[in-house]
Amino acid sequence: MKESSDFEFDDLQGLLRFGYGKLTDTSFLLLNIVNADLAKKWLETAPISSAVTQDPPPETALQIAFSVEGLRVLGLEESVVEGFSDEFIVGMAGDESRSRRLGDIGSNAPQQWKWGGNAAQVPHVLLLLYATEGGIGAWQKTIEGEHFSNAFELLQELPTLYIGDIEPFGFPDSISQPTVDWMQRQSTDTHERDRYSNLLAPGEIVLGYRNEYGQYTARPLIDPRKDKLATMLPGAEDDPPLKDFGRNGTYLVLRQLGQDVPGFWQFLDQVADHIPEKREQLAAAMVGRELDGTPLVPAHIPGISRKEYENDFTYEQDPKGNYCPLGAHVRRSNPRTGDLPTSACGPVDRLIKILGFGQRPDEDLVASSRFHRLLRRGRTYGPALAPKDAVERHAPVAERGIQFICLVGNISRQFEFVQNAWTMNSKFDGVQDEKDPMLGNREPLMSGESTDHFNSPDPAGPMRTTCHLPQFVTTLGGGYFFMPGLRALKYISALPANRTGSPS
């Protein structure tokens, strides 16, 4: 394994390494390409930010990603496009079976989305602009330059608004993030690593590197003998004669999730008999963290406050969900499980575990979290509304929510798996017909069994059930994008003009 410290950060778009948390002003633009030649001209000089650290930190940043149609319009050969995954090629809303898996049914159905809900509505380009407070207008002017307005048509500017490091319901957001093991120091072999670890192989997030299976995720590779232009691309580590169009790129999943903040807090207030402490307790149980971000598991190091360990814990001490309910949002989104149900002591114990013996019937239902991690880069929108104001009957109504963004190397094994097998699964970890209390839709099962409740296991015995949960989060739009490495961007902008098609 390589031990050099010179990872190609200069070829990566910065979002893969930084959250740009200091750049609180953002503008997310959904664009269609109206003139491919001008678009490429613009792209040639566009100041796309790399992942190299700067001192002092930059005051602006620009990132770009393309939908499959966008890449086609820019003239990427179909043979190259076919190297991408099926999820990316078909799109988030392009297949009813996928929508069913993702829980995009009922009020979440793509037919009702504000954008991206059908093939004609999928934007070609996603442009992400970041600036320090008050700087976004000037930054937008700067990057647009001369060709922009003739090259692109603005379909929509997605709303974003910084309201502090919280999401609209009032909880701290993006605490649980994997740490990318850029130097590949950690082994991916399950023999050396059966515990949960937050360190993630770069191939899980960036294409062109080994993933957690020690394998290279499929991606477009180009033969430079057939395509001279491709010589500017990095080589494919696993297939040296070929050039790697995917290397240092990533899939970007974007979903606009509307959050009904007054609806959420008013429902809880009513269930909690208008007692603020009780209300917040129930909210914390649903989220899996307290309003200040403290996880609901017992501190695992005596004498040190849990707050300091907000991302350094597992649920091993809480198998039944007595502290943090099994169905709580953060537990579903990252169950923090290792490859074996509990760590093995010695080869015999290991064998017993591998053969499945000595387990409780409800144990080991969710394993190997490391294959299903997401690097999240979302931003909120809508005015802040504190819980104490949200419970008021005349709480100001506004569109609020999150522009959920995650970066992954494998959309189906990471984003779609988390969404389907964990978040929307009414049987996750053995729970009884309930979906994610925050994110879930409330559609009943095929058998007619309702799923609109939330159970909190209780050490005393009987579970505490909250019934008739309204839907708090609605999918309003979404799409799968590819965020190329910088050399791949150069390749795109250099694609010959005669290959360009017109937008279909």
Partner: protein
């Protein structure tokens, strides 16, 4: 205890009849690939011994892959297979089939070779066309459809009643809670709203056969062990050579094929899976395959018969069947969750077991010492298993909405009604299940 058994009636489809048959089978569905339990042809819902059933049109979509081994593909005529997993024996179930669905079955089978709708002895034909699996897996041997329904009703009833009881007596007084719940169950039973049928006595001849199998297989293996040990070494080396020289096929399934499969999936909490492919050429491969399945079948019958198959707790029923004179193999399973999670569970939890078995199938990713790598070559594995998967025309599950984990929990709840817990901790544990 009523043991489970399975059947698989197989017949080649007459030339030119495939399209009609497909349309006829589709007419039994109310959702793509999902049977309407009350459909006229085959009213699955009327059979109270039937867990799962499916009609599959087995077509050799990947027949050309074997060319990579320098072998000419054998001809394969599209074949109809009717599979079911049932309580009790096959013979009496076939009689039930005839009693309730004779016209429908005749109509379906009339598309097959060797069947005439007018003057056919249906029972004899079904028995003659039934093929046995080399290995079968039953999640919980002895758990009947009737028991599943009764226990699900018990759970539903108790979970509706428990909150009221907690309001009355409080959640700390667990003994009083239990007492109230038990009296409630008695009352509901008395009123005829709940039934908890005691298990039937185990058929003595099944018991005897099972015992003989349990002792016999290891005994024979033990007797043969000196011979086996000698062969094993040569075999292992030969297998390793084959692993190194077998061509690796890395073919991506087409999006049309995937769409055909996924349209049937994720409509409920469980899904079905049917795969069909070629056995790798040569006696070493076939013998290895047969031996591994013999061991699998043994373990499934005598060890993994209580809710888990190694670390997997999501499979209800599964079977491995050799076809075409041992040249091809068919695998069918009924599992909980989405296809992606099923496969990821397989790779991460029992990749070694998959490798052992399917390394002998054409198109399976390269293994090392038959348990290493293989499924861990994630893309190659996911591509090949999807490529070899075939759509299931009609699928029936007797208990939609319930996973294997649900069934195990419901049984534990029932157990708690029938056997008194000895201490408060056990009562709490029982209450937490409801």
């Amino acid at each position: 205890m009523t043991p489970q058994s399975s059947f698989m009636i197989v017949a080649a489809v007459r030339n030119g009849q495939l399209k009609d048959l497909r349309a006829l089978l589709a007419s039994m569905n109310n959702l793509p690939g999902h049977a309407d339990p009350n459909n006229e042809l085959m009213p699955f819902g009327k059979f109270d011994r039937l867990h799962f059933a499916r009609f599959v049109l087995i077509e050799a979509r990947t027949a050309q892959e074997i060319r990579a081994f320098g072998v000419t593909p054998r001809p394969w005529q599209p074949t109809l297979a009717f599979l079911g997993d049932i309580d009790g024996d096959m013979q009496t179930f076939f009689l039930e089939l005839i009693e309730r669905a004779e016209p429908g079955l005749k109509k379906i089978f009339s598309h097959c070779e060797g069947f005439s709708e007018e003057n056919q002895d249906l029972l004899g034909w079904m028995k003659a066309n039934n093929i046995n699996a080399s290995a079968t897996y039953v999640n919980w041997i002895g758990r009947t459809v009737r028991q599943i329904h009764e226990e699900a009703a018990l759970h539903r009833s108790l979970s509706a009643y428990l909150p009221k009881t907690v309001d009355d007596v409080g959640r700390e007084n667990v003994r009083a809670l239990r007492q109230k719940l038990l009296s409630y169950v008695e009352m509901e039973k008395y009123k005829g709203r709940l039934t908890l049928t005691p298990p039937e006595p185990t058929p003595p001849e099944w018991k005897m056969r099972n015992l003989l199998h349990m002792i016999g297989v290891p005994l024979i293996l033990l007797l043969l062990s000196p011979l086996l040990l000698v062969i094993a070494l040569i075999f292992a080396l030969r297998l390793r050579m084959l692993e190194r020289s077998d061509p690796e096929l890395f073919i991506r399934p087409s999006r049309e094929h995937l769409a055909e499969l996924t349209v049937q999936e994720d409509r409920d909490v469980s899904n079905q899976y049917s795969v069909f492919g070629d056995v790798k050429p040569g006696g070493v491969r076939l013998l290895t395959f047969k031996f591994v399945l013999l061991v699998t079948d043994y373990l499934a019958r005598h060890i993994y018969n209580r809710g888990f198959l190694a670390r997997i707790k999501t499979i209800h029923f599964a079977r491995w069947v050799f076809m075409d004179n041992n040249h091809r193999v068919f695998f069918a399973s009924n599992y909980d969750g989405s296809h992606e999670s099923y496969m990821d569970d397989f790779i991460n939890k029992v990749g070694w077991g998959l490798n052992l078995t399917f390394t002998n199938g054409v198109g399976y990713p390269t293994t090392r010492w038959i348990i290493k790598e293989g499924a861990n070559r994630e893309h190659a594995f996911k591509y090949t298993q999807r490529r070899h998967q075939i759509p299931t025309e009609v699928w029936y599950k007797a208990y939609p909405g319930l996973t294997a984990v649900d069934l195990a929990r419901n049984s534990r709840i029932r157990q708690g009604v029938e056997i008194r817990q000895s201490n408060d901790a056990e009562i709490r544990e029982w209450l937490s299940l409801i």
